[in-house]
């Protein structure tokens, strides 16, 4: 009886081990030439807890963030943008952020308001510049351009959601929410 049980265990190990190996390999993040491979659409987290979807667009230099109720006010000589973000779950969160750029072009056309916002993309934790725009006619609220992607990731146009947001900041916030 014991002998048969041992033979059975050995059989399961020998036959099953390749499949365990594949499963383990599949969990590793794919890389190409030292860069992480992302899909053309990814989940991102803005400002620590606003879940959004982002379109990876290497043909655009700048990144965009779709906002609601955008207003710009001046306080103590500095410009601040107040706006709301609507996350995937439908809840909105209000923000008031210092404006980096708000200049008119030489032809008189106004440029979008630019601010810095914390972003979690895969394991990357960044604070890139975003143009605040109306993206209500697009499927993704965020568009990430070359200034975010260059040197960090390559984009696989046949994949989406290759890397879930996994930043230290997020983990800290989630654990503090659970404990409270």
């Amino acid at each position: 009886m014991k002998k048969n049980a041992l033979w059975l265990l050995l059989f399961v190990f020998l036959v099953g081990s390749p499949f365990f190996a594949i499963a383990e390999k599949a969990e590793e993040v794919p890389m190409v030439q030292g860069r992480v491979v992302l899909g053309y659409i990814e989940h991102v987290v803005i400002a620590g807890d606003v879940d959004l979807e982002a379109l990876m667009s290497p043909v655009h230099h700048f990144s965009e963030l779709g906002v609601l109720d955008l207003k710009v006010k001046e306080e103590n000589g500095e410009k601040y943008a107040s706006f709301a973000l609507r996350g995937k779950k439908g809840t909105t969160k209000d923000f008031k952020v210092k404006v980096i750029a708000d200049k008119a072009k030489p032809d008189g056309k106004k440029q979008p308001i630019v601010v810095r916002m914390p972003l979690c993309l895969g394991k990357f934790q960044l604070t890139p510049q975003f143009r605040l725009v109306d993206r209500s006619k697009f499927e993704q609220e965020v568009r990430l351009g070359r200034r975010v992607l260059a040197g960090r990731a390559v984009i696989d146009p046949s994949t989406t959601h290759a890397a879930m947001p996994d930043c230290k900041d997020l983990a800290t916030k989630k654990s503090s929410k659970k404990s409270s």
Partner: protein, 195 residues
Amino acid sequence: MSCTVSKGDTVERRRTGTPSRGRISGLVCVLIVFSLLSLSCSSDIFLAPKKDSLGWVEQVSFPEFEAILDAKLDTGADTSSLHASDMKLFIGNSGKTVVEFRIEDHNGKDQVLQLPLARQAKIKTKKGTLQVRPVVKLVVCVGAQFEEIEFTLVDRSHFEYPVLIGRNFLAGKFVVDSSRSFTFGPSCQAAGDKI
């Protein structure tokens, strides 16, 4: 279990129901070798094949009309588009709709082309509005890969690059690296033979 044949015949004793130790050892050896081979290289067999990496801008060629143009590789776009001017639609001799349009290659050489209209497409512009554009099928060579795909014809004269290659070509073939450009030019020798 053993059986014995009666006296006068060749006595045979057969053991049935239990494989020999030699056979079991052989099976175990095969399984061990298989497992070791699988552990070392199976992931490469079962995962998707590796794709070449291209920059966000590359030179592409259109073998049918021997033109080389600069193209943006846009993972954010479903379809591809080609700058065309002087577009006209008319009914050809076959009774089907034909599109006539002018293109200019990277040497500034003009060509007027007439191609069957594949369909009309509604494209979402960057302002979010919908625009109707004629669609034709063309063979395009990017890197070492070529395929006949649909291109929407549009006036891209206010853009820096006359061609935009979207996911309808890129998916399954390439990954796009935003930090690189003009990594290698079109090199599809087989494309010319196939047309």
